[in-house]
Amino acid sequence: MNNRSATTTLLQLTAVLVCAVALAATLGFLKVSIPDVLSILFARLTQQPLPAGIDPVAATVVADIRMPRILAAVLVGGMLGVSGAIFQAILLNPLADSYTLGISTGAAFGASLVIVLQIFGLVLPPVVSVPIFAFGGAIGTLALVLYLASGDRRLSSTSLILAGVIVAAILSAAIGFLKFLADEQVGIIIFWLMGSLSGASWQNIQLLTPTALLGVLVALFYSRDLNIMATGDRAATSLGVHTVRLRTTLLTTGTLLTALAVSVSGIIGFVGLIVPHMLRHMVGPDNRRLIPLSFFTGGLLLLFADTLTRAVLPVEVPIGVLTALLGGPFFCILFKKRQKDGTTAF
């Protein structure tokens, strides 16, 4: 890969993302112009008083309500995209992602557990405990799914996804029980199940940013090793790749990205599956390109979807519902197309 062209592409993508963020901030019930958005953000960042002629209400809406939500959409989308790329590459399975493997459901179970424990009087600081419980639930699910599928040494698509579906079904029942326990406060749990970014705060951004950065850097650091994994364990080992260490590190990284995303936004399906899948068709399977591109594309896609439900649609549809409604049919088309092509890589 040419380093200079990679840097150019990266700068272009960052520019596109910044423009998209600025544009998204203008949209909503209260229309704000792009220059106003920029001066509000500039004033906030430099901690200077607002320039005259800008509505202070608009400033509060843009800086305290829209911006955290917009940034959360970008970060969550990017994290889901990267985690999907990691899962697909490490499990040699173009259909793997945190959603199909049940990891998202595991994370949601962990998050719901915190809410129920709080109802029963256990005081935990939610900003920290929700991500921690979500990660615990996610990593437990991953371990269980891998254990169930491990009878089949190749970890084939079928056994992994079946194991994921089974575990997710059990966890869904468990979440149902938690909902029953939550009684009147059931709405908060339903929020996790459908996925929504409406509750995103600056505190969430403080947690998501370093996690996203860490995840992307770890994945990039191992991206060439990840490519080599596509040729099987024996061949990869003979090229000097520590296959076991690589699997453990990257599965944990992918799970961490998913869990943190879920702890902020709830379950948002199909982004992690479709973004890397689609990109692989467009730019090839090289993870050195795929991982950064998955971040940008996932971020842009979720920002688009969230802006759609926040500012364009007459009623706010939960974003998880929206991505599943848009992504599900797309997935069906991919599935049918692969059967027609006779590709057996499934």
């Binding site: 890969m1 040419n2 380093n3 590459a89 040699l92 399975n93 173009p94 650091f221 060439r224 090793d225 490519n227 080599i228 596509a230 040729t231 099987g232 024996r234 061949a235 080992t237 003979s238 090229l239 000097g240 790749v241 520590h242 692989r280 090839g284 399977p285 090289d286 590709t343 890589a345």
Partner: protein
């Protein structure tokens, strides 16, 4: 720079001392002792399930012996850092499978992995090396094709090209030509033989076909039920007696002036 490795005993590639290995409770290799030296093309032969591939996996460091010791170049095999080992040993596996649509060139470039710094791009010299191995393995015209769309034989040639791009001191072949037609088998084996004779690349090959082994190898090791039955220079050990003892078939071994090596014909014993 790391201090140079002690490779005092360069006269020895591998020395195995009473190596045993099994999967679960099923023993596969039992107290195998071997010394492999540079200068011979080694062939490992034996019936299905005799432990040939397991032996190769032990030599490459993929598996750890359950008892006994393996040394490579005078140093315990498992004390070698993986990257340094990968700079010296390359493996052509039996069924080379690639799960995503990497181009042939990308797959061959993976062979450079142990020689490149983590974030380094291949230099012009590396690119020339890739061009050269694509050419000698006859896959230049396939270079931009996705490897998932190739036939079994083409994929196998990609695997050989990738192993050559790794510039190993020792090449390990695991029935590397069993998926190839006779023309491509001979072409690949001859190419590897040339590298052995002209550039001193050592070769250890698990083989299935006795006639190809006789054409290709200087030294044969016969395994049966996890033990070395006999080993030695090809012309000494490739005999009807050995073949009867190892495979349980009657064989006739005749020097052949056409191929310039010993050729074997078989039949099942009349009174088993």
């Amino acid at each position: 720079m790391a201090p140079p490795l002690s490779e005092q005993d360069t006269d020895q590639l591998w020395s195995l001392n009473e190596v045993s290995f099994g999967y679960g409770t099923t023993p596969v290799l039992h107290k195998v002792s071997l010394a492999l030296r540079p200068g011979s093309c080694y062939g490992i032969l034996g019936p299905n399930g005799s432990g040939k591939t397991t032996l190769l996996d032990l030599l490459s460091g993929l598996l750890m012996p359950q008892s006994g010791t393996i040394e490579f170049k005078g140093r315990p095999l498992h004390s070698w850092p993986k990257k340094q080992l990968a700079q010296r040993l390359a493996l052509v596996p039996q069924d080379f499978m690639v799960r995503f649509g990497y181009s042939v060139r990308e797959v061959v470039e993976m062979g450079l992995h142990p020689h490149l710094h983590r974030f380094a791009a291949p230099s012009e010299k590396d690119q020339a090396l890739i061009d050269e191995v694509l050419r000698v393995t006859g896959i230049t015209t396939l270079a931009d094709r996705p490897v998932t769309r190739l036939s079994g034989g083409e994929k196998q040639r990609v695997a050989v090209a990738r192993a050559l791009a790794q510039q190993p001191t020792v090449l390990l072949l695991d029935e590397a030509t069993s998926n190839l037609d006779i023309h491509h088998s001979l072409e690949i084996l001859q190419l590897i033989r040339q590298r052995f004779e002209q550039q001193g690349m050592q070769v250890i090959a698990v083989m299935h076909d006795l006639n190809l082994a006789s054409f290709f190898c200087d030294h044969l090791i016969f395994l049966k039920q996890g033990q070395v039955v006999c080993q030695g220079p090809t012309e000494e050990v490739l005999t009807p007696d050995t073949i009867a003892a190892v495979y349980g078939v009657e064989a006739e071994v005749t020097p052949n002036t056409f191929t310039n090596c010993r050729q074997v014909s078989f039949r099942l014993p009349v009174n088993p």
